[in-house]
Symmetry: none
């Protein structure tokens, strides 16, 4: 519906606003003003700031055609460590963190957005990881992928404790042991 030029302007405006204030303080009016676009144009294509931000994030990650590529060096421990480190870096990246937290919050009250999120970001990630585990003949690879991702996400989301290399190594070790791979 929206012309490409318009989408681009809106994405840029949304991301720039996200960089300079609490995501919860971003408004439709603010995005419209920053993008030089009318509110109606926004509402024609998106129904909340959450949708716009998610769309902007998606567009950005597609631009960087950053499909989650899971490394496969042959050594599962090494690969999982790299994966965990990558995830942690991304979660902690100051240009992304606020956005990711806000998106997670939004998912709690917006089922449609949650479904989109699962399909577009979560499932590719989990199935990438479980695929790698399957290649290593790990049993129940989907569940083990969750065992791998869950604690990282839990720590990050509840800010319970910080991440360090030592913890990552121990975590990978525990996951492998649980999979019977050690």
């Amino acid at each position: 519906m929206a012309r490409e030029r318009t989408r681009t302007k809106v994405h840029a405006a949304a991301l720039s606003l996200a960089g300079e204030r609490p995501v919860a303080a971003i408004t439709m009016e603010g995005i419209a003003a920053r993008a030089g676009v009318s509110k109606q144009t926004l509402y024609r294509s998106w129904s909340s700031t959450g949708e716009i931000l998610f769309d902007a994030l998606l567009a950005r990650s597609l631009d960087e055609n950053g499909r989650v590529t899971v490394p496969n060096s042959g050594d599962l421990a090494v690969d999982l460590t790299a994966l965990a480190t990558g995830m942690i870096d991304e979660l902690a990246d100051p240009t992304q963190e606020r956005l990711l937290r806000a998106l997670t919050a939004e998912l709690q009250s917006d089922d449609a957005l949650a479904a989109q999120f699962r399909a577009a970001l979560l499932e590719p990630q989990l199935s990438g990881i479980s695929e790698r585990l399957r290649q290593a003949s790990v049993p129940a690879p989907e569940d083990v992928a969750e065992l791998f991702v869950g604690p990282i996400f839990h720590r990050w989301l509840l800010r319970s404790r910080s991440f360090d290399a030592e913890w990552v190594a121990a975590h990978v070790e525990r996951v492998l042991r649980s999979a019977g791979a050690r």
Copy 2:
């Protein structure tokens, strides 16, 4: 500050509103009207609906003197299964789920609330579990507690897949194996 009678009325109003509409649609004005209290009275004691709801939840769980009691039957697998089942039941309890999701969302943008939450609810839970693990001589019990809780939370929060008894059993099994207890 607020008189006990007032606190009670406000808590009741907040929880009753939470039971009948999306938590995000709860407003200070709505709570004041429902509680038969002036907005000023609300602002004297709380500064957001999030605070009121958190306070109401705390008060309720203290009333039910619901300290997280971790079972200790001697058989760690049995105890962890009971724990997981209890957590899952609580997370899925329709009278709580919306509130818990909303609270989780709120934590993402309110540091003070997040700190309170960690101190009052999260840490007691995690340390209860890790204490039980320590009694079973599991190494790094804090980390294993997180390995246990993280995936459950991840599934629930992202609604990625549903819980069933089979998955719980397998999950407990994996956690124990990762701890070297199997």
Copy 3:
């Protein structure tokens, strides 16, 4: 400019809308939608809903080749009574009243429309009446025509009081007396 077919569709749409809602609630978009015509087509030929309605009214009254014909029976009192009754019926006609009131309102703020209205509808009416008066040798027939029309219009416009046969008779009587014809 506009093709005849288009003009007809637009007139029909405008009048049908006027029949089912307050005239002030008629919009260019509404007319376009009802007529199955694009907004641009409307703007090419008219610049406001007022113009369209006026145009539609004019077209309709030309169709009914409804030029104001002033009766001339020889008896001035009878003729004026018939005229007054006719005017009152037309003003009170439910299919016209809203339109006429709205048009009168519009005239207050649209000079161009007011001039068109005077030339196309008001002057023919007044000069028809004054012509009839002149034939009866009434002095200052234009002014007496206004004396005749003014109070009727005043009553209708300000809805001050309703019309009945008795009042009409007395009014005609007064007008004739003022003209020295009684």
Copy 4:
């Protein structure tokens, strides 16, 4: 409801805006901004710009405690001439004319406002005039009052022709003659 200070600010803002642009271009937002008042405050007490303007006009004419005082010099012709001249001056007063025209327009589509207008302004005027006529033993004084006022209003409203002293004199003469007073 509205505090006196607020009403005053709003009235001043509305009248000042009316002085500098077409009345139809006055908006609730504009008045709110000019008055330094929130839109909600406006809507708490008035539901349209028409109501505000009418209220402002009323307040102003009450301030000047300008009840319509009908002169009574003993000579009816002299008094009616003075009355007509006064009405015409007021209708033509450039600071009022736009407002009065707009108000007349508004009355056509707002029944509540029309009723208020009749009760507060029109009836006092007409009954003042008919009272003066009654003192001069004119029969059907209410109807004659309308005969007097109607043509003046008709001329003004439809801008059909302008007023001059000669016309006024002839008009008064006609009205008196119709009443049998000449």
